[in-house]
């Protein structure tokens, strides 16, 4: 029967003493947590262990003896060690031994039958597994992905022996509080004996963190109180706030900042603060807007001619075309009027981008929406016209067949019309049918343009969502302290001599990055479109206006 002994690497150089830890009978493994040094009083050791057991609910006991010395064992020490076995009785009793300065270890595990029958004690083979106590203490095991049809209870029941080892070390914090350098009655050696990390800067930062956090909390509460005041809830302002994605992002960012103070997102776009870059951006915006307007004018001229070889109704074509051209002319004049102020506005808006890349992206999305406002207007005009036409056509088509829509009963009923009603109805129906291609073409063109703009804005939103839901802290932890997030363990066989016990080194196998992102994904403020593809196509066909996404808590327009 092979027994396993998990031994911390920090105790490999400790002086002789008693082994203290937990025995797990199901896996026949012993987890050594610390070494108690000579001299000690057995009563005090037992008291300390009882205290630790009560505080941590871990069955900590004396497992055996540890011997670390220069020469071969002396007889008196051997009897002394065996005598200890009688005081702290434990089955099986481990006796680990190491020559100082050499790599040869020996360990025996005996089943103590009693003080009378020394000869009848059995010996078992022991396998030594070294582990880094500090890393195992801080690490968190991530079991492989549970299949969806299993409940959580099943997996904990079948948790293996290694999870028990991690659990034991993690829960025994109470044992690690006193050290061999402390003045207490019992001197222990464990991972704290290797040297506690103490850096002046870290200490200073810890002291300064309290007041700084307090100050930031006060500032943030002031800002959120100001933004929650009644002025902003009045109708025009609340309408604008709900339409701009920048405000949604700012609100999200404020929530995050109040939660954790140092949330600085992906990269700090400080380059946007540089004057010449803002100037270049402002200089680039006006020609782009002009270019877009010119392209729209060419498009309208094309529609007013014979687009794609289709023959349009000349009068309606001219009316619609001239109306849209005048609209573009107004828009261009407005842009040119605003051009001296654009640079300053952009600089002030760019200041708020210090809150993160996502805010900058949201600002970009809003700038695109504002610049293409005329396309949105054209789409609304075209859609309303088309919608009216379709409704008129359907109602007159029913009249053509001698039927009527019953509003009370919400169904189509037959109806007898007078002759003059039928005459006028048929005339109007014919007119609408022949004007349908022109209106439909304008509607089609502007709907496509609008959908293009919506797609671009949607992509920016997806990117913002992705950045928002990226777990930066977990990724940073995986990069800098990979032992904290463990997918499992890995073993390495150390130098082996025949006749000596087998020695293994247990190291932590870190979680792959894809699983880190998948497990620790932050909840997104994901505003997914509420329509399915079918309802979208239906709305497009009947000319109803489409609103591609809704912000949280928005009411229908």
């Amino acid at each position: 029967m092979v027994l396993k002994a998990f031994f911390p690497t920090c105790c490999a150089s400790a002086d002789s003493g008693l082994l203290v830890g937990r025995w797990v009978p199901e896996q026949s493994s012993a987890v050594v947590l610390a070494v108690v040094h000579f001299p000690f009083i057995p009563i005090q050791v037992k008291e300390l262990l009882a205290q630790v057991q009560q505080a941590s609910q871990v069955g900590v006991t004396v497992l055996g003896t540890w011997c670390h010395r220069r020469q071969e064992p002396e007889e008196s020490l051997g009897h002394f060690l065996e005598g200890l076995g009688a005081i702290f009785s434990h089955k099986p009793w481990f006796q680990l031994c190491r020559e100082r300065g050499s790599k040869s270890w020996s360990c025996k595990a005996t089943h103590w039958q009693g003080p009378t029958s020394h000869a009848a004690s059995g010996e078992d083979q022991v396998m030594l597994i070294f582990y880094d106590q500090r890393k195992v203490l801080l690490s968190q095991l991530h079991p492989p992905a549970v299949l969806p049809d299993r409940q959580a209870g099943d997996t904990t029941a079948s948790a293996g022996g290694l999870a028990a080892v991690f659990d034991t070390v993690a829960r025994s914090e109470a044992l690690f509080q006193s050290d061999r350098f402390d003045e207490g009655p019992v001197r222990l050696s464990h991972w704290q004996s290797e040297g506690v990390e103490a850096s002046i800067l870290v200490e200073l930062a810890k002291w300064a963190a309290g007041p700084v956090c307090l100050l930031l909390a006060c500032l943030l509460s002031l800002v959120s109180a100001a933004s929650a005041c009644r002025v902003f809830k009045l109708w025009p302002l609340s309408f604008i706030w709900s339409k701009l994605s920048t405000c949604e992002q700012l609100r999200h960012r404020l929530e995050q900042l109040t939660l954790i103070f140092s949330t600085r997102k992906a990269k700090n776009p400080a380059q946007l603060m540089r004057k010449d870059l803002i100037g270049q951006l402002a200089d680039a915006l006006i020609p782009v807007a002009d270019h877009v307007a010119k392209e729209l004018q060419h498009l309208l001229q094309w529609l007013m001619g014979a687009p794609a070889g289709l023959k349009m109704n000349r009068a309606l074509d001219q009316v619609l075309g001239r109306f849209f051209l005048y609209h573009i002319h107004l828009w261009i004049s407005y842009i040119h009027l605003m051009s001296p102020f654009i640079e300053r506005i952009l600089w002030h808006v760019g200041l708020s981008a210090c809150l993160g890349l996502t805010v900058a992206l949201s600002i970009l999305s809003d700038i695109i929406a504002l610049l293409t406002f005329h396309i949105y207007c054209f789409y609304v005009y075209g859609a309303r016209l088309y919608c009216l036409k379709i409704h008129g056509l359907s109602s007159l088509w029913r009249l053509f067949r001698g039927k009527k829509w019953n509003v009370l009963r919400q169904r189509v009923d037959s109806c007898s019309y007078d002759l003059d009603q039928l005459f006028i109805g048929t005339l109007l129906f014919t007119i609408l049918v022949f004007l349908l291609p022109t209106t439909a073409l304008y509607y089609l063109v502007f709907t496509l343009l609008r959908l293009l703009v919506v797609t671009v804005q949607g992509l920016i939103h997806l990117l913002v969502d992705l950045i928002n839901s990226l777990p930066l802290y977990s990724l940073g932890l995986r990069l800098c302290r990979p032992y904290r997030l463990a997918a499992g363990v890995k073993f390495r066989v150390l130098e082996h001599e025949t006749g000596r016990p087998l020695r293994l080194l247990m190291q932590i196998n870190p979680l792959p990055y894809s699983r880190v992102v998948h497990t620790y994904r932050l909840p997104t403020c994901g505003c997914h479109p509420k329509h399915s593809w079918g309802s979208l196509c239906r709305k497009l066909f009947f000319g109803e206006l489409i609103y591609p996404w809704r912000q949280r808590g928005d009411k229908q327009d």
């Binding site: 396998m127 029941a157 293996g160 290694l162 499992g488 363990v489 890995k490 087998l502």
Partner: protein, 188 residues
């Protein structure tokens, strides 16, 4: 105790199986894949550079040539770090578990450890791979809900793909250790 034998994989390439016995309860098998040959490396590089030169004569843009050099270098580094496996190791420790390690040509190692409590059995299975039927060694994992069911099949030596004679060697040693482990675990 260490010994080395020579086998071949399913394509006819030469594999070396190194077996190390640390103790009756601990065994390690190391299977080395055929190395990347100078011939294949030269062939790929020449193809890429000839294609780039062809594009250059069409477009007269010298950026294409520099881009081709970068692509070759990055592609080679990526291949060595992510794709080319140098050797695969199987470590079986009685009463602890089975560990599989894949070492890439750039030195990266990826390890998986399965505890003995989850291992049901180690078997040789058949599979249809492209146009061949091949044998592969796999570990069957226990199903926590159903006592006689299998929850997962974990194949071993996936990139080396040795033939049946090599698999039988590994299979016999694994079964010895598993039988020993089952015998000692049932006894109190």
């Amino acid at each position: 105790m260490e010994d080395e034998q020579s086998f071949s994989d399913i394509y006819g390439g030469r594999l070396a199986l190194q077996r190390r016995c640390y103790s009756p309860s601990c065994l390690e098998f190391c299977l080395s894949c055929p190395r990347i040959t100078l011939r294949s490396l030269t062939a790929v590089t020449c193809t890429v550079w000839l294609a780039a030169y062809g594009l250059f004569t069409l477009c007269e843009n010298s950026m294409i040539l520099s881009a081709a050099i970068f692509i070759t270098l990055l592609g080679l580094l990526g291949y060595l770090h992510f794709v080319k496996i140098d050797h695969e190791t199987l470590l079986i420790i009685d009463s602890l578990g089975i560990q599989m390690t894949s070492s890439y040509a750039s030195g990266k190692e990826s390890t998986t450890f399965i505890e003995m409590g989850e291992v049901k059995d180690v078997v040789i299975n058949e599979a249809i791979y492209m146009q061949k039927v091949i044998y592969y060694l796999c570990i069957l994992l226990k199903d926590p809900v159903e006592p006689h069911g299998i929850s997962q099949v974990v194949p071993l030596f996936q990139s080396a793909k040795p033939r049946l004679d090599c698999l039988i060697e590994v299979y016999r040693s694994c079964q010895d250790i598993l039988a020993h482990q089952r015998a000692t675990s049932t006894s109190p």
